[in-house]
Symmetry: C2
Subunit: 411 residues, 2 copies
């Protein structure tokens, strides 16, 4: 769909989520379309962290592990995230990074499928998923990481496969996998399914248990607005918790860490998948982001995500047809996440020119421009104006003045 500015404003005025914009501390002059990479700061975070620092740490000191229930924070925050992903509260814990959690669950999945040594994934998956799987294969004997073309995954699920590792939403294209269908194929072949929710959690509806998912990991710092490098989370279906074994058996996963005994005894349930002491300040910041996400109606969020996307796509089609953008995100709402991606040979320079004008998206090799559509703090007018500025950048060829890309730069 495309729209006039007046229409976009009318949709904002009627938006049931419009009150959420004021809950975020976004800078003036910025249209932030990179919440799929680092979510925005919620206003409540500063106060909550100030309290955690000065009162809980400063005054409470070591006592706050009990008195402020720091010790329960991974399970508490995990239980809240569970409500966003269709899981039981006792099936999710916040912990470590996505990479470390992937390692734990891939190793546990291989252990649960003796005789099978294949991790099946797709080529071009988010790199850390591939790197972690290959690092594990370098340590555990005989493990093979089989990375096949995206459309060959379903056909490659067979009785050699221990675990199918896929992103729910692809970080470049935003293409969404059919979680229920792929999980059923995995189960039909006797394999487990491990879903990376990093690019879907907080943006679209997820129903892990309804899809019979086995395992999942996800990121706290994208659509959950948990802050830079926020702790990640992991999900293990209740039916698997007592048999799966994480190789990262740190003291926080022990049944009684403060007994300080030499012998390992796993905590009951999801707690056994913890490893070391959680980074509490970052974890409490994540909790603020999750709490805010829980205030919003999930269906309203998903519906607005769809409409923001349709407006972005429609405006580009209507205004930018001559500029050579190729939409690479699936057009059907059920087949995509909540960012929109276009290929363009001059994509890098175009994204930099947009950033210079306050429209912050990002670029992914070789030619992909990504724009995150975050229903809680973006409005229809924001999207409308972003495409207007994109059109201006193209007409003025402003992107030709972008300095060349420097090595080592975060894009």
């Amino acid at each position: 769909m495309n729209a006039t500015l007046a229409q976009a404003r009318a949709w904002d005025a009627a938006d049931p989520l419009r009150e959420f914009r004021a809950r975020f501390a976004l800078p003036a002059g910025v249209i932030y379309l990179d919440g799929n990479s680092l979510g925005a700061l919620s206003v409540a975070t500063q106060g909550r962290l100030g309290e955690a620092i000065s009162r809980e740490w400063g005054e409470g000191l070591i006592r706050s592990w009990n008195d402020e229930d720091w010790i329960g924070a991974p399970a508490r925050v995990g239980g809240k995230i569970a409500r966003l992903i269709g899981a039981g509260a006792h099936e999710v814990t916040a912990a470590d990074s996505t990479s470390v959690n992937l390692f734990k669950l891939l190793a546990a999945a291989l252990g649960a499928r003796p005789g099978r040594r294949v991790i099946l994934t797709e080529a071009g998956n988010f790199p850390t998923d591939l790197y972690v799987a290959r690092g594990l294969a370098g340590l555990a004997p005989g493990v093979e990481v089989r990375a096949v073309a995206s459309d060959a995954v379903a056909g490659a699920i067979n009785e050699q496969v221990a675990v199918v590792l896929l992103s729910h939403v692809h970080y470049k294209s935003a293409a969404r996998r059919d979680m229920a269908a792929i999980t059923a194929l995995a189960h039909g072949a006797g394999a487990l399914a491990l879903w990376d929710l990093s690019h879907s959690v907080g943006a679209i509806e997820i129903e892990l248990n309804a899809c019979a998912a086995d395992l999942a990991v996800g990121c706290g710092y994208k659509f959950l607005n948990g802050g830079p490098g926020a702790p990640a989370f992991l999900f293990v279906a209740e039916r698997l918790q007592e048999t799966l074994v994480s190789p990262l058996t740190g003291w926080m996963g022990h049944a009684a860490p403060f007994d300080f005994v030499d012998d390992w005894r796993p905590a009951p349930g999801i707690g056994r998948f913890l490893a070391g002491t959680p980074p509490m300040l970052s974890l409490l910041a994540l909790e603020v982001g999750v709490d805010l996400a829980l205030e919003a109606d999930a269906k309203a969020v998903a519906h607005k995500a769809e409409r923001l996307w349709e407006l972005f796509a429609g405006e580009v089609a209507a205004r930018c047809a001559a500029h050579g953008f190729r939409l690479i995100t699936p057009a059907r709402a059920a087949e995509r996440g909540s960012h929109i991606a276009f290929a363009h040979p001059d994509g890098y320079g175009i994204v930099q020119a947009l950033i210079a004008r306050g429209v912050i998206g990002d670029f992914r090799d070789p030619d992909i421009m990504r724009f995150g559509l975050t229903p809680l703090y973006l409005g229809y007018e924001d999207v409308w104006r972003a495409v207007e500025i994109l059109d201006e950048v193209m007409k003025s060829e402003a992107w030709r003045h972008t300095p060349p890309r420097a090595a080592g730069r975060v894009t």
Copy 2:
């Protein structure tokens, strides 16, 4: 040594580190003797984190990975920690938790010693060290964790051993290992030495390179005052960095993470030992603690640690001889860290009675009372008064009124 109150005060007045006390935000009415478990809050932390949250995250958003050098923070903070442990700046990075870093380096050490499958450690080591080693042994074929009695470690170093894993300072007794001697024994047998510095870093002098140490990990939230669950660090001697392989190959350890390529290529040097995205808020809080530690003269810190210890031991000997405390920390300064530990059959109740009176130490099974002696924010009068209150608790038998210990409680 023991002292009068007036003498203790005179020592405080002459203490070259006395100005540091005001740099910490300690609550009134508390003598904090648990900095070996969770360090105190430094005054600068609140402002630094406020800035990181509101300006760097809130306004800078994704741009701060470049503009505020978030991407360089693990190496930067690691380089600062390096100065506290006698390492080169490029030999240390802040990353993950101690548990996760132990896993990385134990696996890397085993990979560097093909044909050897023994991890040698001591029974009663800090539990996470034992748990992580055993978790790794469950994943990598043929690995044996050989945990021998503390005084049998040196004699057990032989040509079967791939890596010797020891705490530099023992978490219960505060007994300090001779790092140079044990490392030399390990090298003589062709093994590597991995030191856990969690209970020594920031409190006593450490000279990793002078001791020819190979590998080390350590904790950010004890004597480094980095905040609850602060990120940990790891050290890999420069000569080993290009050959050792971490199994936790996450994207932050890639040579070019923002090229998003499918194939793993390790970052040059210490950077390859990173895994996932670092929890930035917790990492920046750690940096404040480390910066403060670097302001202090390391020799003055070590000297004051020795004298605080001697005063504590001397006062207990002089005042509490009848109360049945058994000192389990080595008396010679070179053989201990910076906490003092006593065994007492009623230790749990005594520690709780002390906490109720504002003297915060902690208890470790089966009967150990631990008191951390942190030179930057503790004075001689604090120690003097702590022992006075200990004596009162014993004389009044106040500890008899302590509620029984509850399961699951952080001690």
